[in-house]
């Protein structure tokens, strides 16, 4: 267990610092709530609509592609550690793995899943081509 003590300490410090600062400001600060002060802050303008309006689907696409390539990286950790023992055979396996995922990346890139422009310019560009 001794190896994990340092990590526990780090977590405790991080969480502790955040909690303490929130608690202190809550306890020490003078709290005289008024209508304006408790309204959500929108650079001074009166807030309009609720906080969560619909986002476009490109956020989902990027998150999904991040997830799938995150798995590819997760497979590389043990590979890197054991590469000396695996030799060229292990190297060939990962090259094939990366090549297949490269094909996936080409597909995703050509299909425009990663295009980040806002919808209007994207549609205009697509119509032009």
């Amino acid at each position: 267990m001794q190896g994990w003590l340092s990590i526990l300490i780090m977590i405790a410090l991080g969480a502790g610092f955040a909690l303490i600062s929130v608690l202190l400001s809550g306890v020490l600060g003078p709290s005289k709530p008024s209508a304006e002060k408790s309204a959500p802050y929108e650079c001074g303008m009166p807030p309009v609509g609720d906080a969560r309006e619909r986002q476009s689907v490109k956020f989902y696409l990027v998150a999904m592609i991040f997830l799938l390539f995150d798995i590819e990286v997760a497979f590389l950790y043990p590979w890197a550690m054991a590469l000396r023992g695996l030799g060229w055979n292990g190297f060939a396996q990962v090259v094939l793995f990366m090549a297949l995922l490269l094909a996936g990346y080409v597909y995703v890139w050509r299909k425009g899943a990663l295009d980040w422009g806002n919808e209007k310019t994207e549609r205009a560009r697509k119509l032009r081509t």
């Binding site: 689907v57 989902y60 999904m64 997830l67 799938l68 995150d70 798995i71 997760a74 497979f75």
Partner: protein, 100 residues
Amino acid sequence: MVALNHYLVLSAILFAIGTAGVFVRRNLITILLSIEIMLNAVNLTFVAFGRALGSADGQIIVFFVMTVAAAEAAVGLAIVITLFRHKESLNPDSFTLLKW
């Protein structure tokens, strides 16, 4: 002393919670989350058996199960998005086009 059985019982409880979640909850996202709970319960069983047998197989199989869970989550959420484009609600009861 913590024995293998403790871990197996714990993963059985988690698996049952996931199964119950798939039936009980009326929200598509939470149903997918319950399936993730079930897969995690199975991961715990694999690691517990791997540790009991003293081999690395258990942990490697958990690797592959995580890849499968990620792929399933990606496709499942894509299908939920296409469903949501037709109907604004996430409540499975409102999807009743295909009847008995």
